[in-house]
Subunit: 123 residues, 2 copies
């Protein structure tokens, strides 16, 4: 197994969080949907950074420092949430996210290791 | 790691095989392309059956018993080959395939275990 995945942590859930936005339950996670969501280099990069560089319980998309229009990022984060890769919560005007590490490790062992070991093609 | 993947075997290569059709080298395999090719339930089913029920070095697509038009199957097998999941050879009028188990295990450890553990949603 790739060892980089061990860097992924489940942080303790702080009290008083907003409810998660709609997402599939663990039982409803589908491999084909998860793989489809990860078949885009930008989405791989989002999940990998949230996985390996997590500093807080949830991160806004601005934290990732991606040079893309906000509407495009909103679309990609929604695709990741609907496939079950990330959990999103609405904090006032801002959505913040984290990777569903425990759920994904339970259903698809090894998957997050592949994401952790991935590197973008270009610089 | 899913144990079903241990059923995957690399059969010895018989002498006098036709050359493989064009495919990415091991070094050129890209995770996003491999995951994209596997994001379709039919393609997951193809790879899983070739992986777990292999009886010969290469199998024609008719061996899989899929109830789809030949043109559709040709398209899906080509997508799998171009992503690097299967190796295809032309035997006279027929193309036959096997999963690139060694190459995929080397580059993406755990991936074929996820495919082996997958089950179609419906009956």
């Amino acid at each position: 197994m790739p060892s980089a995945a061990t860097a992924a942590r489940e942080l303790p859930e702080p009290p008083g969080l907003p409810a998660p936005l709609p997402e599939p339950t663990v039982a409803d996670l589908r491999l084909e949907a998860v793989l489809g969501a990860l078949s885009d280099p930008l989405r791989l990069r989002i999940v990998r950074k949230l996985l390996l560089e997590r500093e807080e319980f949830d991160h806004p998309c601005g934290w990732l420092g991606l040079d893309r229009p906000k509407s495009s990022l909103t679309h990609h984060f929604k695709a990741l949430r609907e496939a079950g890769l990330i959990r999103q919560r609405q904090y006032g005007l801002e959505r913040r996210s984290h990777v569903r590490v425990g759920d994904l490790d339970a259903r698809f062992p090894g998957l997050l290791g592949l994401v952790a070991d991935w590197t973008p093609d270009g610089p």
